[in-house]
Amino acid sequence: MQPTLSLRTRPGRAVVGLAGMLGAVALVAAGCSSDSGGAAEKPGATASAGGATKVDVTLTAASGTDACELSTASVPAGPVTFTVTNKDSAAINEVELLLNNRIVGEKENLAPGLAAVSFTSTLDGGSYEVYCPGAEKDTVAFTVTGQAATSPTGSVQAVLAQGTAEYSTFVQSQLAAMVVGVDNLKKAVDSGDLGTAQKAYATARPFYEKIESDVDGFVLPGFKATDNKGNLDYLVDMRASSLDPAVGWHGFHAVERDLFGEKKIDAGTKKYAAELATNVAKLRDLATSLAFKPEDLANGAAGLLEEVQANKITGEEEKYSHLDLATFAGNVEGAEQAFADLQPGMEKIDPDLTAQVTAQFDAVKSTLKTYQDAAVLGGYELWTPQLRRTDAAKLSQSIQALQQPLSKVAEKVATAQ
């Protein structure tokens, strides 16, 4: 999830036409989808909505051909419960109900031998499709006749739009806080007091880490995307490992190197701090143009976790201060905020996946909590090479377990009806 060149040339992502989107939703006349049955729930335990029409979806490979069979090809409008049984198809592990290529309901992690699972959707009249990737004929037509008695309320898109608006507010608040934090860092550096400056550095760091994947694509006006001199992410957050010799040291980590590596403040340090303060203010101003689609939140959250895996676990990010766990926590907090803003929509789209993501966020946070130490700068144990040797695998695995379900969220919200 590295920033692409095209993104760098485009300060501010595509603005979402909220009004247009809501309009589109109104045309899509399928309703809310509720979900019952975990991936392994017993058939007897599947609750079907009162009065719901029942449709059995059976996955088979009996004739040597993987097939997706429906018990009926047409139902009247209203609540419909789909019960999916994978009899013996190793190739099919997912079933989706689609209307105009939008997902109305679905079940994943299907495998032969597991108990049947079901989901219920309130469907209005229309030509639907049941999509079973892996089947020889992977799309089966499904017709709903008539009109649902009550029109569906609270469309998923509207809920998601509410979430992206909230997330946008969060990003702006973090940018504003970062500007204040970096200003304090500059003042502390200017004072020449090393201890005060180190504290101010630790305080200023997490803000950028919470929103990095949203704001790492900005290029200063007049610069090419390939020139790091105008790349704000480089100027703010470059590290020894990403040093461009033609542009040199800048930003947070130039200050970090002086404060924690060389343990001194000189004229160069003051210059770095002053420049950083200018650049984060520029970044804040440019970022007011940011607008988010739901999948941007999901991809951003995934991007922050990639940051954790690539730069924090390795101890590369905070090479001199060893504050990696504090910035790790910042990445996780940012990712969790993005997911939290999608969660109300995701609950409607895929409650199973939502529960998995939530559980894995909880697991990561409770693991991180064991490293909290208020006495240490940044609030977490220092990520020293010794601690890394013993604990990196555990932390990395905990993030991997979160990345796996989280990586599926973008597709869900992008295709939500």
Binding site: A40, G64, A90, A111, L114, G134
Partner: protein, 447 residues
């Protein structure tokens, strides 16, 4: 590394094993090349895809041999088009299956603590393995929706099935307090005790689950383990892995390969159906779900390669009890001569020294005990001491883990080979039988 605990079957028997069941589905079931079929380059001659059963035990293999006419047929391997069926066999693949050239072994720690999650993992693994063994991907390598993350990692997309088998094992931890399965634990199954000469690294030892992927193409085996490990994220974490190259045990009908010490390994391996029945397959008497299953013992054995390479040939041969070139027991002249432990050398001592590896491991000297070995060579580059990090990925199958304990207790005490090796990794796993169609490995355990 036991080279000597099974009788030689001088005449290799290439016939399918009677106990290993018929291939799943109808014998003529064609290998379709649908959207999710992995390789796409066999355009010609598709009409005859399922040409016929290739000789082989542990499930008949279906080879699309017409398409492979141009590639040389390995003398005792299988062509890359070989696809072993997964469902509907008696035993899991990768045990009696003619040993493939490459392997990856992986042991996992379960992070979930409820039986449902374990069932889902085993069922999803089983379905995925069934696809991989047919040479297919796990879903689309390139999904049509731009926002979709591919479920298959893609590096085997253009490769043939390559005789892949993936064998699932259940570690002792599956039967601890977490999953409510203590009552299903076979009486003989437990963690291996500390054994003489053990130098086990905790990071290379144990595991709640094991996967052994074997294939004629290492990338096919790697892909299987990579995707299966990815599927396990959130349910299990990889504890240790060994990548094996070059088989270091002889299966039925195969020439005897050499281990990294340059000696033939597996000359007297279990090859006859009778021995498989007597020493490998579980009878299911104490736990019905294990009927047709077996136990897997995996050991990562490091070789002190530099020391071995500076040892003189006479001593090397005394250490093993065999000649290096021919592989003959020091009491005889040919590889398959039955070792005679009474034969005396010119000096009046036994020709096969009593502390040689062959003498200690021979079934004649162990009350008839035999185990099936299915080992691979491995290398991990250089170690931190500037020495070659290589050795043997020893994998053995038996119907009672005590067989390994008995043999290794003896070997670990006095085997002359111990000077040149160290057992650094270890695991023991219960291997359930193959699943029926519509089921998954281990399903009967939860019934």
């Amino acid at each position: 590394m036991t080279t000597d605990d099974a009788r030689p079957d001088v005449a290799p028997d290439p016939a399918p094993a009677p106990g290993s069941g018929a291939p799943s589905g109808t014998p003529g079931e064609p290998e379709r090349r649908g959207r999710f079929s992995r390789s796409a380059f066999l355009g010609a001659g598709l009409g005859g895809l399922a040409v016929g059963a290739l000789g082989g035990a542990g499930g008949a293999a279906w080879a699309r041999s017409d398409a492979d006419a141009a590639s040389p047929l390995p003398s005792d391997g299988v062509p890359s088009t070989t696809a072993y069926p997964f469902y509907g066999q008696v035993h899991q693949g990768g045990i009696e299956t003619p040993q493939q050239r490459h392997a990856i072994f992986a042991a996992y720690d379960l992070t979930v603590t409820d039986p449902r999650s374990l069932q889902v993992l085993l069922a999803r693994w089983s379905a995925a393995i069934a696809q991989f063994q047919r040479g297919r991907s796990l879903g689309a390598v390139e999904p049509t929706r731009a926002s979709a993350v591919p479920t298959d990692t893609g590096e085997a997309a253009d490769l043939e099935p390559s005789g892949l088998t993936v064998t699932i094992g259940l570690g002792p931890g599956v039967f601890d307090e977490r999953f409510g399965l203590a009552g299903r634990k076979p009486a003989k199954f437990a963690k291996l005790p500390a054994l003489p000469s053990d130098q086990l690294d905790p990071g290379l030892t144990g595991g709640d689950l094991s996967l052994q992927a074997c294939a004629e193409d290492p990338q096919v085996a790697y892909h299987a383990i990579r995707v299966l490990s990815r599927m396990a994220q959130g349910s299990a974490t990889v504890r240790w892995t060994v990548m094996g190259f070059g088989r270091a045990s002889a299966g039925r009908g195969q020439t005897t390969p050499r281990n990294l010490m340059g000696f033939k390994d597996g000359t007297r391996n279990i090859k006859s159906e009778a021995d498989f029945g007597a020493f490998v397959w579980h009878d299911g008497v104490d736990q019905a779900w294990m009927k047709g299953g077996t136990y897997q013992v995996a050991r990562k054995i490091q070789m002190h390669i530099e020391n071995w390479d500076s040892d003189f040939i006479g001593d090397q041969q005394s250490v093993f009890g065999r000649t290096k070139q021919e592989g003959a027991p020091l009491s005889g002249a040919h590889e398959f001569d039955t070792p005679d432990f009474a034969t005396k050398g010119a000096d009046g001592d036994p020709a096969i020294p009593a502390t040689s590896h062959v003498a200690l491991a021979a079934h004649e000297n162990n009350g008839g005990l035999k185990i099936l070995r299915r080992s691979y060579n491995f290398t991990d580059g250089m170690d931190e001491n500037g020495q070659i990090n290589a050795g043997l990925l020893f994998i053995a199958y038996m119907n009672d883990p005590a067989a390994f304990v008995t043999l290794q207790t003896k070997l670990g005490r006095v085997d002359r080979l111990n000077e040149y090796i160290a057992h650094v990794g270890s695991g023991v796993f219960a291997v359930p039988p193959a699943p029926a169609s519509g089921s998954y490995v281990g399903e009967a355990l939860f019934g």
